[in-house]
Subunit: 436 residues, 2 copies
C-alpha cells in the first residue's frame, strides 16, 4: 500500500552525462553498507540527528489529536519558519487541507496584515512552533497575531497551541495561559521533524489522516532497517545516486513533482537538501519546480543547458481524475478522448524521455497516491536519502552553522545587543548603478 519506488535507469551512464554505471554503484554499495551501520546504530542509540529516523515509531497520533481536541476551528494559522513550517505545510497539502492551513513564515508587514484581515479569526486555530521559543520572526508574528485576536474580541488563549522545546518563552507562555503544548522532539533538527507534532498538529486540528502519515513513515523505517543496500531500499538508492551524480558534476537537484498537492513537498525538500548538505563547499543546489507547469519555464534549461543537474521526477501512480470535455477544434480532438490526469501523466513521461534523449540525468520516484501513507513514506525515504548522502559526502548533516552569523547581525541591527556582525553591515562595499 505504501510502496515507493526509485527508478534510476535514466541516470546510468549509458543514458546520461554525467551518469553512473552498475560498477560504480556496486563499489559505492560497500560504503553504503558501512554507512548503514552508522545510521542504524545511531537510530538504535537515539543519537542526535539519527533519532529523526525513529520519529514514525515515537510519534503517537492519538496523543496529538487529544492535545488539540478542545480546539474547534475551520482554519489553522501556523506561526513558524523553516523547519517549523515546511513539514506541516507539506503534510496538510498532501491531505487536501491546503485551503484551510495558512502560514506566517515571513515578516512581511503587508502580507501579514492581508492574511490576518482575510481569516475568520474566531474560527481559526493559532499554531505556534519554535524549538527555542526565541525565533525572532516567529515571536514577532505571534505578538502581532495575539494583538489582532485581541482587537477582534477573540480570546487567543482558547485557540492557541504551541509546539516547542522543554524550556523557553513559548513553553512559559503555554504554562501561564493553560495552552495545549506539544514537544519538538529532542535530537531531531527542525527540517527532519515533519513526522512529529511539528508537522502534524494542523492536520490533527483539521481532521486529516494523521495516523496514515505516521503509518507511511513506519513503512519507510521498516524498509530502511530491512535494507541496508542501495539496491534494496529506495531511500538509499536515491541518496546514493544523487551523491554519485554530484561527485560527477550534477551540482543542481531539480525537484519536479507532478501534482499540485506536492508543490510544498518540493519546498520542504529544498530546505532538507540545502541545510543538510550545503556545507564545507559542497552540496547540490535544490531547484524547486512543478510539473507540468515548469515544462513551460524550466525544461529548456534542463534539456539544453549545462549538464550540471539531476532532475528528480516524482508522481503518484493514481489520482482522482477529471474528464476533458469533447472539442470540435481542428487538431485538438485528441484532448477530448483524454482526462486531465492522463494529460499530466503523458507530460511526465514525455519530459522524462525528453531529458533522457538529451543525455540529462534524471530519476523517477513513484508512490501509490498523494494521501497520508503516501506522503509519510515519501518524507521518510527522502530524509533517509539525505542522511545517507551526508554520510557519503562526509559533512555534518544535522547542523546549520552558517545561518548563525546573519541572526547575530540582524539582532544587533535592531538593538538587541552588541554584535560585531552588525558592524560589518555598515561597512558594506557599495558600487551603485542607476538612481541618478
Amino acid at each position: 500500500m505504501t510502496d515507493l519506488t526509485v527508478d534510476f535507469g535514466n541516470a546510468l551512464d549509458v543514458e546520461a552525462t554525467p551518469g553512473v554505471s552498475e560498477g560504480i554503484l556496486e563499489r559505492l554499495d560497500e560504503r553504503v553498507a558501512d554507512v548503514h551501520d552508522t545510521i542504524s546504530t545511531g537510530m538504535a542509540e537515539g543519537e542526535f540527528g539519527y533519532a529523526s529516523l525513529n520519529l514514525p515509531e515515537r510519534t503517537d497520533p492519538a496523543a496529538i489529536e487529544d492535545a488539540v481536541a478542545d480546539i474547534d476551528a475551520d482554519h489553522v494559522l501556523t506561526v513558524g519558519i523553516g523547519g517549523s513550517a515546511l513539514g506541516a505545510v507539506t503534510v496538510s497539502a498532501a491531505l487536501g487541507l491546503a485551503d484551510r492551513h495558512h502560514t506566517l513564515d515571513n515578516v512581511d508587514p503587508e502580507a501579514t496584515r492581508r492574511l490576518l484581515d482575510s481569516l475568520p479569526l474566531d474560527r481559526t486555530a493559532v499554531n505556534v512552533v519554535s524549538r527555542s521559543g526565541t525565533t525572532a520572526e516567529t515571536l514577532a508574528n505571534f505578538l502581532v497575531v495575539r494583538e489582532a485576536l485581541d482587537e477582534a474580541g477573540v480570546d487567543w488563549t482558547e485557540r492557541t497551541v504551541v509546539t516547542t522545546g522543554e524550556g523557553g518563552p513559548l513553553r512559559a507562555a503555554a504554562e501561564e495561559h493553560g495552552l495545549p503544548a506539544l514537544d519538538v522532539p529532542e535530537g531531531v533538527p527542525g527540517r527532519f521533524s515533519a513526522l512529529s507534532a511539528v508537522g502534524l498538529v494542523p492536520a490533527a486540528i483539521l481532521g486529516g489522516d494523521v495516523e496514515g502519515v505516521v503509518a507511511g513513515g513506519v513503512a519507510g523505517r521498516e524498509a530502511l532497517l530491512d535494507g541496508g543496500s542501495l539496491f534494496d531500499y529506495p531511500g538509499y538508492a536515491y541518496g546514493a545516486v544523487a551523491y554519485a551524480l554530484e561527485q560527477r558534476g550534477a551540482t543542481v537537484n531539480a525537484m519536479l513533482p507532478y501534482a499540485e498537492s506536492l508543490e510544498p513537498f518540493a519546498e520542504w525538500f529544498a530546505q532538507l537538501w540545502a541545510e543538510s548538505l550545503g556545507k564545507d563547499g559542497l552540496g547540490q543546489t535544490p531547484a524547486r519546480a512543478l510539473g507540468a507547469t515548469d515544462q513551460h519555464s524550466q525544461l529548456q534549461l534542463y534539456r539544453g543547458g549545462r549538464h550540471d543537474k539531476l532532475v528528480t521526477l516524482v508522481r503518484p501512480r493514481e489520482r482522482a481524475d477529471v474528464e476533458i470535455p469533447a472539442t470540435a477544434v481542428e487538431g485538438m480532438r485528441y484532448l477530448g478522448d483524454a482526462t486531465l490526469g492522463e494529460l499530466l501523466d503523458a507530460e511526465f513521461e514525455a519530459t522524462e524521455a525528453s531529458l533522457a534523449a538529451a543525455d540529462q540525468p534524471n530519476v523517477r520516484v513513484e508512490f501509490p497516491r498523494v494521501d497520508g501513507p503516501g506522503i509519510g513514506r515519501l518524507l521518510f525515504d527522502v530524509e533517509a536519502a539525505c542522511v545517507l548522502a551526508g554520510e557519503l559526502m562526509g559533512v555534518e548533516t544535522f547542523t546549520q552553522p552558517a545561518v548563525e552569523w546573519g541572526k547575530r547581525a540582524a539582532r544587533g541591527l535592531l538593538g538587541g545587543g552588541e554584535f560585531a556582525e552588525a558592524d560589518a553591515v555598515a561597512e558594506k562595499t557599495t558600487r551603485v548603478v542607476g538612481g541618478k
Copy 2:
C-alpha cells in the same frame, strides 16, 4: 519616482569568489557598447525579440481597460501556462490583487476541481491566454472551465476574454461568441510579454494600476536608450555582472526578493532566465527564493556551499508597515521597539553581509516600492539584463527549441498523431529499487 538601482559592490573580487574587478568590467563594457547597438537597432526596427523592449511604448492601457470594461467581476481566473501566466501573476501580486487573481497553469485534476469548486463562478472573469491557441494544457483547462460554468448556469460567453495571436482556435472562438479579444504582441516571446495585454488584462479587470505598470516600463526603456553602458544603466549592470560571474563559475542565480508580493516575480524571473539563457550547454540555473523565509531554508547552502552562485537580493525602499507589540519576554524586548518591516530590512542587510563575509557574490537591486511603476520598471530592467546577457553569451535568447521534443512526445502518447518521440517513451531504460 521609478528609480531602480543595482549595487554590485559585493560581486567585486575584493569581496567575493568568484568576483569581478573594475578592470574586467571596463573591458566588458566595450562589448556592452557593441551589444547596445544591436539591441537599440533591433528595437528601432522591431526585430523579433528585441521588439519586446518596445512594449512600454506600444501598450495602450486605456485600450486594454476598454476591451474588458463590460466584464463585471470580483475575481479573475487566468487559463494559461508559462509566459501566458507568470507575467500576469507577477503584476497582479505587485498591485495587491493576488487574492483575487487565480490561475490554471497546470493540468492537475484534483487542484483544478478544487479551484473551480472554490470560486464564485458568477463573479469570476475567465482570461484565456495562448499565442497559438493550441497549447494543450490551456485548451484542456478552458474546456473544463467552460463545462463548469455551464453546469453552474453561468454564461461563459459573457465572462470570458481571450488574449491570443492573429489566427488559431482561440481567435476563432472569440469571433464566434463575440468575446473581447486582445493581441499577444507580434515579435515578442511569451516570457517577455508581461508589459502587454498578456500581463495586464487581469489587473485591468480588477481595477489595478495598469497605467502605472506601463509607466514604469517606459521609464526603464528611456534609461536603457539613454544609457548604453553597464556603468550607467542598471539593467545592463545586472546583466553584465551576472554574465561575468557565470563565466567564472556562478552557474546558479538565486533570486531572493524581500517582499511576499514579489514572490511571483522570482518565478517570472526563473522562466525568463532559464528559457532565454539555458541553451547550448550554458545558462545559470535560477533558484527561486523568498526573504526572510529562505534564510531558514537556503542560506546555509548559499553561505556554506559551493562558490557557484550569484545571490540576487531585491527589495523595495518603502513598505506599508506593522508595529510589533511590546513584549516583556526576557531577551526579546528589542522586538517591541521595531516594526515587521524594520525586522525584514534588518534581515535583508544581515543576509547580504553574511554572504559577503563568506566571500559569496551577491548583488542588491532596490526600487522605490512594490506598486505599478515599481514592478513595471523592475520587469523591464530585468528583461533588458537578460537580453544583454544572452548577447554576451552568444545564445539565441528569444527561442526555446528544447521544449518541442517533449510536446511532440506527449501529443503522440495521447493519440494526437504519430511522433517518433512518443516511441522513445516506451523504450525507457528502467532500473527500479523498491516495490517488492
